[in-house]
Amino acid sequence: MLNTSDIMETISMIRDNNLDIRTTTMGISLLDCADTDIDKSCTKVYDKICRLAGNLVATGDDIAAKYGIPIVNKRVSVTPISMLAGISGGDPVKYAKALDRAAHEIGVNFIGGYSALVQKGFSAGDLELIESIPRALAETELVCSSVNVGSTRAGINMDAVRLMGEKIRLAAELTKDNQCIGAAKLVVFCNAVEDNPFMAGAFHGVGEADHVLSVGVSGPGVVRSVLAAMPDDAPLDVVAETIKKTAFKITRVGQLVGSEAAARLNTQFGIVDLSLAPTPAVGDSVAHILEEIGLEQCGAHGTTAALAMLNDAVKKGGVMASSSVGGLSGAFIPVSEDAGMIDAAREGTLSIEKLEAMTAVCSVGLDMIVVPGDTPSEVISAIIADEAAIGMVNSKTTAVRLIPAIGLAEGEELNFGGLLGYGPVMKLRTKSPAKMIMRGGRIPAPLQSLKN
């Protein structure tokens, strides 16, 4: 029979420490929905999503009841819509509305893929889609958008970077009566991954199967509580080992739930993405893990090193636990979604510069950061460029999800509610990068040798 302490450990992980399946995301290819008539194309998109993912929510709830583990979100990611828009022409917002209708019909809480991949240049549909993003996000509720502007092999498309600075600002302006929520549903990537199940950056890559089911597992609370039980003088290699073991257990749960859900939905199992994704709930914070490792507050000197160790240990445990680990896998640091980060930002311990350094060693990037409402679009573009450069040079995924708080100044707060959380407006540098951003063009791909 099972060991009593193993049983109690599992129960306490789920009941006391917020271990959950953060998301089951069905990736659906829409390539066979393309049509030269945009209305026909939208109908096919709606029908295909409803047909394949119609039971996604019910299946998720069923499995959650069977195993007693919460499955917090059910989501759908689709082929980047710019590809369909390129074939059909017309107003891409029609696609956004079709996606939104489908998402409401099947009951998922987000649908991702209003996206374009433009790291090297724009093809048909890309510019139209990027142009339409702010409107699409303002006129729909559940649609998420992402744009990949750079990669290690292609360099950074600085024309796209300039455009995205403008679009992020406009997305916030168009939704200023609703906490600028438009910008919270828009991510700008460098080295975007094709199988990420987490929103807002999920899309279904063209290299993927027709439909797959991927799972995002979380559990910062579990890691924190395991570390809290360790002696204060345990060396860091022992701490890393403990994180690794915990990550293993968490990933196993994801693998179990994912493969069962995929079988029930008659689809292929995609990947488990083990990402320590915080929520604003107390006890579900990545910042608190870093503090448990030994920092007075997240953002203190030493944060980058602690995060690097955490991120690596999480990946190692995850890889051992599942043969199909993918997505972003690591530690997320979305400021407004993490109680510890929010506190650190409020107190000024956590600055945008420190966050930028942290993104060089963790999963993804500058995430859910509220910036002053009067930030010019070229400053936002410059932040995107900095972040994309970190991703490009280090061959890792980086992303930017900034929310310009229209009408608010430094020190005030936005509150998105739910998992997106709340956060104070963070201070940015005010000297202008406009000349550089206006140059446009491309930053060439970096050298892959002579790495020093």
Binding site: L2, T4, T10, I11, K66, Y67, K249, V253
Partner: protein, 91 residues
């Protein structure tokens, strides 16, 4: 080949007369059968793990948990599918 589907019931709380009996009655009522039980009483605290065969269960695991909870007020009860423990704790 083992075709049984199993669940683990854990009951933790202050010791009182009939905890095991009440839990076992609920198990029988749900058409599930007990495979193994281990229980420890330390001072006044009672901890029990029960492995049950749920291949013929009437209703869901959740229903069984709710039923036991109803019969054992004030006591912590969890019923979870065995797979979750196996996948987490074995390599």
């Amino acid at each position: 080949m083992d075709t049984q589907e199993k669940a683990v019931i854990t009951v933790v709380g202050k010791n009182a007369i009939g905890i095991l009996a009440k839990a076992a009655t609920c198990v029988a009522d749900a058409n599930t059968s007990v495979i193994q039980v281990s229980q420890i009483v330390m001072d006044e605290f009672f901890t029990m793990n029960m492995l049950v065969d749920i291949s013929q269960i009437r209703g869901s695991i959740q229903d069984l948990e709710n039923d036991i909870k109803q019969h054992l007020p004030g006591i912590e009860v969890h019923v979870m599918h065995e797979n979750i423990f196996n996948s987490m704790h074995t390599i």
